[in-house]
């Protein structure tokens, strides 16, 4: 795994543990955007993971229905 990915995952973990509980939960999906991002950065290289996360974040608004949306649904296992 890239060093860069490890840093990003660390930040996501900190966010999930300490910052996220401060706010009203808002994600329209399961798993939540942050969990989705964490999984993406574990599984794929930095640029792919970044792109997948961005795509998910853009979808996470009132314009989408939300619901169960795992990483595998959109992206095949073409990771490492």
């Amino acid at each position: 795994m890239l060093f860069l990915n490890k840093i990003v995952i660390l930040f996501i973990n900190i966010y999930k543990k300490f910052i996220s509980p401060l706010f009203v939960s808002s994600c329209r999906f399961y798993p939540s955007c942050s969990e989705y991002a964490r999984q993406a950065f574990v599984k794929y290289n930095f640029f792919k993971a970044f792109f997948y996360t961005l795509y998910r974040l853009i979808r996470c608004g009132p314009w989408s229905k939300g619901g169960y949306d795992p990483l595998e649904r959109h992206w095949r296992d073409d990771g490492q």
Partner: protein, 575 residues
Amino acid sequence: MDNNRTFVFMIILTVIFVGINVYFMYNVKDVKSDAVISNGASEKKNSNIESETTPEMEFEALYEQKETLEENIIYENRNILLEISRVNGEIVKAYVKDSFLDKNQNKKFSIVTGKPNNNSLKLKFGSWLNGKTISELTGGKESYTLEKVDDKFIFSTKIKDIKNENIYKIEKIYTFVEDENIFRFDVKISNDKNEQMNFDSSDVAFSLGWGPDLNSDGQKFNKRYDMYSYFNGKKVEKIDIDNKLVKRSTVPGFGEKYRQGGESWIAREDRYFAAIIYPDSQNYKYFFDYKDSRENKYYCGFERYTENSMLESSFYIYIGPKIRSIVRKYNNFKDFKLNDTNFSKVVEYKFFGFGDVMGVILNFIYKLVKNYGLAIIILTVLIKLLLSPLTYKSMESQEKMGKLQPKLKELQEKYKDKPEILNRETMNLYKKEGVNPFGGCFPLLLQMPLLLAMYQLLDKMVELKGAGFLWIKDLSLPDAVINFNFTIPFVNISSFNILPIVMVATQIFSSLIMPDMQSNKQAKMMMWMMPLLFFFMFYNVSSGLVLYWTVMNILNVIQQLLKNSMKNKKILKKA
């Protein structure tokens, strides 16, 4: 475990917060009490010391005023006011007048402030570290003749090198332009024997220091706002005490840099104002002097190499607010034949220019309503309205949520022990029914740049100076209703401010009426922690910023109340 985590988080926050406060605040003496200048007195004291310790002088003053002229010469135009020492023609204090404000009250802000024996614009003969002033060279009083011609102040004097009978003529010339923030300061040194000028062992003829103190609001030195910077040809570089130029120098606390090409101005900056000094195109060595930073004495400036017979240097000095439209005027200034000075780079872009856009909008609203407090409120409402289409949909679905309740309960029963499957199935149910109570991550993320932009804008907005609103006298300062004569350490509280209290109250209230907050124990605890942290973070910032945050909170409350009433209506209809 949850409580543990909250506890750890609280400790981390406290450490970060106290750390930031300690890092940025220098607990130095109050500037006001220190800044009283008595030039004549200090000169006298100085010459006494000189005559006691060094009996034999290498130079002799050829011109000596019989009486010490202690009063300062004042230059004043529409935008600036300078106090220039009659003794040696150095700037003692410089002010910017509030003419740049829409509603000016003929106030002035002190921009650079000298200290006894350390004027704002200080000239030494020889290098900055070893050079001497005239009184130190000659062991006598420093005195200059003063000639006022049109818009010029010409200070001149003569000293003689006793060894080789070389007579030096020294001139300091100020050239002012009516109603501008810029003026020129020329140094001319000539000798009659065509020999190399030598005032100390170095190859430097003179050094010009600019400082030592800029503090427009009389507040304590704050590393976040108060600094030296210089334009290195490409970008503005901040030179603080921890800069590698200063830290890795041979003389501790004294950074030097040879001019290699692009380097141009040096500026002393604070939160709202800048005092920029821009040298002509000759060869200089730049220096940043933090040696006496303990005494709140900082200098930056230029060293000019020695020449034969005649030496002329020009420095262009801008003093004024950090407002781009004003500073930009002097990027090219015809009166002084200035081109590409890059002065406007001293005004930093707020949040990648996003904050500047907000600033333009805020100033536009101000032009219509003529009150910055009102303008901030209107802008906040506009931002909230802009974001509301995003939240409207989730409000809509709030109504439909009632129908789903039985189905949700069913699921909860079914997957009691499998929270992950429960979550998944709940989300799938929402999807199937086309209902989703959540607003989504994207709208939440979109708010972040807006908040950061507003923070950076309102924190440093000069236009808020002197702008009152309700009980707030100055939107650029905390709304200190009562000033304590002590400071609570670590949190840096030295006055009683009402607005932060109002802000925190609205924030607590807005989270109290959030429906899903009550469910989670940890979230409930955080609901009280967050406002508390915000309270300390926002206590000393400009009240314009606190006003923005307060209005945002109130709008959130209104939105939530609307949401709740819609829900209630639905329930009532059913019944």
